[in-house]
């Protein structure tokens, strides 16, 4: 076991994937010489060369579209989008080409492409640098969406995403880049499927489902709660592993879903709908959502009021129990 940050764990995972498979090629803005804004690709260009770690101009649609052509020829491109809000210029390529090519060609052409996106707030940045765009991609059939919550998960799931024959939107919780954790660098990345939710803390009274940057917040809230809280890290947002959540709700009868993204038509809405379909009679209260508000991401002075924190999660737990 080695103690390292999530950023370092991702770097190690990328390195492993590049060593394992020479068709893995990294594309992005300032990922090579500079090593990326968050240094996730630090040192990789030096070790693997400019032809495998490619510095691209500021052209998100061009970069993703170029990767589509590369993927059609059997490469496994890994694109870094510098910040969440910068993915929107590439939205057409992702939704119209990346997501649909496999089905449109009836399986003839696979799209083994990973689009890494640092996402979420909490670093005092502003809109376009703090957003949580996951719902757009989860809504799009043909894409897989993964988000790690700790360094070990990051180390393993980035390798699994790159090995996937399907396109993966890989959302990295940027405010957790510097969180440290124990990482087993010898762990077999293919021992467990990444497309599952994980019960990180067992509990009996309330289920809290969360993902990405909110996992740590929810674990801290569970620790502070005056009841027994089960914390589930969804990890795979598409496909969504609702079975793990439903099994938990059948025991606890209460569910709170937590995410940074705005509430309306977000993952919380989807989880609530699916849980009510799966285990309606186990629910002792309506599913509650603790989320960012339905406003554009605010400037840094108001950020702490926008983001769900320990108090808001605990308040959600109290309200769902008091129903």
């Amino acid at each position: 076991m080695t103690t390292m940050t999530m950023a370092k764990a991702l770097n190690a995972g990328l390195r492993r994937a590049m060593e394992r498979e020479r068709r893995v090629v990294l594309f992005g803005e300032d990922i090579g010489r500079l090593g990326g804004v968050f240094r996730v690709t630090d040192g990789l260009q030096k070790d693997f060369g400019e032809h495998r770690v490619i510095d691209a101009p500021l052209a998100e649609s061009g970069i993703v579209g170029t990767s589509v052509g590369m993927a059609m020829r059997g490469f496994r491109p890994v694109v870094e989008i510098q910040f969440d809000g910068f993915v929107y210029p590439a939205f057409d390529q992702i939704v119209s080409q990346v997501a649909k090519t496999l089905r449109r060609t009836d399986g003839a052409v696979r799209m083994p492409l990973v689009i890494r996106i640092p996402y979420g707030g909490g670093i005092g940045a502003v809109e376009h640098h703090s957003e949580s765009p996951e719902a757009y991609f989860v809504h799009t059939a043909g894409l897989r969406v993964l988000t790690p919550s700790d360094p070990q998960a990051a180390y393993l799931t980035i390798q699994q995403a790159i090995a996937s024959d399907d396109p993966v939107i890989y959302l990295e919780p940027k405010r957790r880049y510097w969180d440290k954790g124990e990482v087993d660098l010898d762990a077999d990345p293919f021992a467990l499927s990444p497309w599952h939710a994980r019960v990180l803390r067992p509990g009996d009274d309330v289920t809290v489902a969360c993902y990405g940057p909110m996992v740590r917040t929810c674990l801290e809230a569970a620790e502070a709660a005056d009841c027994s809280v089960e914390v589930i890290d969804l990890q795979s947002l598409s496909p969504l592993d609702i079975d793990v959540v439903a099994a938990s709700v059948r025991r606890t009868g209460h569910l709170v879903v937590v995410h940074e993204a705005s509430s309306t038509a977000g993952l919380g809405a989807e989880v609530a709908a699916r849980v009510s379909e799966e285990c309606f009679y186990s629910l002792e209260a309506p599913v509650l959502r603790v989320t960012g508000y339905d406003v554009p991401y605010p400037a840094s002075r108001l950020e702490e009021h926008f983001l769900p924190d320990l108090d808001r999660v605990l308040d959600g737990v109290d309200r769902v129990r008091a129903f």
């Binding site: 101009p57 579209g65 052509g69 059609m72 089905r103 060609t105 003839a108 399907d166």
Partner: protein, 321 residues
């Protein structure tokens, strides 16, 4: 290498007769959805694709029936795709706008204007990384040059010196918007040249002129390893799609261009040069018509996808965890 004029003529006629039949079938509701006819522009696809080798790649637009046929994809597979049959070139899943056949290195029609351009850059980059000396020919309309993806793609291809032949099919109208209403610089080759890409224009109604321009362009891509931009000046005789009332063009303008019908230009030349007589031209027409008849029969006899397969290949591992 370059086919002779009779062969080029025959290819253009195959496209023309195929699409004329598509128009009829669309009106008869045998073909559904949207159909964008290439009628009037046949010399462009035929002239360029004739200069490519089977190893070279093609990326096209939603007006791509002609490119697919010129590439050699079987007409019955294309017509079956128009019908949405499982026997179609994309198993009925692509339809008119998404003909796709990787074995022919035909990397698709694309329903998004300029959506295919970065993809062509990626194909060319893949070739270069694998040390393959191939050309990727990327077709698009002049409307695509107003899209950001054109600028991103030609910049990347020029910056990274990638073997892409950008073929702009300038038919003067982006659906209903005339060139002068959509471009600040209507000399499109000048616009492309700003990216340090060798760029020029040619007559897209004359298949021989087109073929010679393509020969020079393809050779330059191969020799230099970098991109070239070729503007083919052409015109579509039909509306943008079968759904378009075509109210934005004067009838006189259409008639003027029809006088330069690429098929008439070629057939007149064949007769003038004594290469073929009217009887021989008629024989080709009859032959092509039989091919179209057979393609329609195949499409009529085809089968539709089972609804139970709706989720197949949404993702390679299925849609559930």
């Amino acid at each position: 290498m370059m086919a002779d004029l009779p062969s080029l003529y025959r290819q253009m006629l195959r496209i023309r007769r195929f699409e004329e039949r598509c128009a009829e079938l669309y009106s008869g509701e045998r073909i559904r959805g949207f159909v964008h006819l290439y009628i009037g522009e046949e010399a462009v696809a035929v002239g360029v694709i004739d200069r490519l080798t089977p190893d070279d790649a093609i990326v096209a637009t939603y007006r791509e029936h002609g490119h697919a046929l010129a590439r050699g994809i079987a007409m019955d597979a294309v017509m079956s795709e128009m019908y949405g049959r499982t026997q179609g070139v994309s198993h009925g899943r692509g339809g008119s706008m998404h003909l796709f056949h990787a074995p022919s290195r035909f990397y698709g029609g694309n329903a998004i204007v300029a959506g295919g351009l970065p993809l062509a850059v990626g194909l060319a980059l893949a070739d270069r990384m694998q040390d393959r000396e191939r050309v990727t020919a990327c077709f698009f309309g002049e409307g695509a040059m107003a899209e950001g993806e054109f600028h991103e793609s030609i910049n990347l291809a020029a910056l990274w010196r990638l073997p892409v032949l950008f073929v702009c099919e300038n038919n003067l109208y982006a659906m209903g918007t005339a060139l002068a209403r959509s471009e600040s610089e209507t000399n499109l080759a000048v616009k492309a040249a700003a990216y340090e890409v060798p760029s020029w224009s040619c007559d897209g109604m004359d298949v021989e002129a087109m073929s010679h321009a393509a020969e020079r362009a393809v050779a330059l891509v191969r020799d230099s390893g970098g991109p070239v931009f070729l503007e083919a000046r052409t015109f579509r005789f039909r509306a943008h799609s079968m759904y378009d009332p075509d109210r934005y063009r004067e009838r006189e303008e259409i008639e003027r261009w029809r006088e330069r019908d690429p098929i008439t230009i070629a057939s007149t030349r064949l007769i003038e040069r004594g290469l073929m007589d009217q009887e021989a031209l008629d024989a080709i027409d009859a032959d092509v018509t039989s091919e179209v008849d057979a393609a329609v029969a195949a499409a009529e006899a085809g089968t539709d996808e089972d609804v139970a397969d709706l989720e197949r290949h949404v993702t390679s591992g299925g849609v559930r965890p």
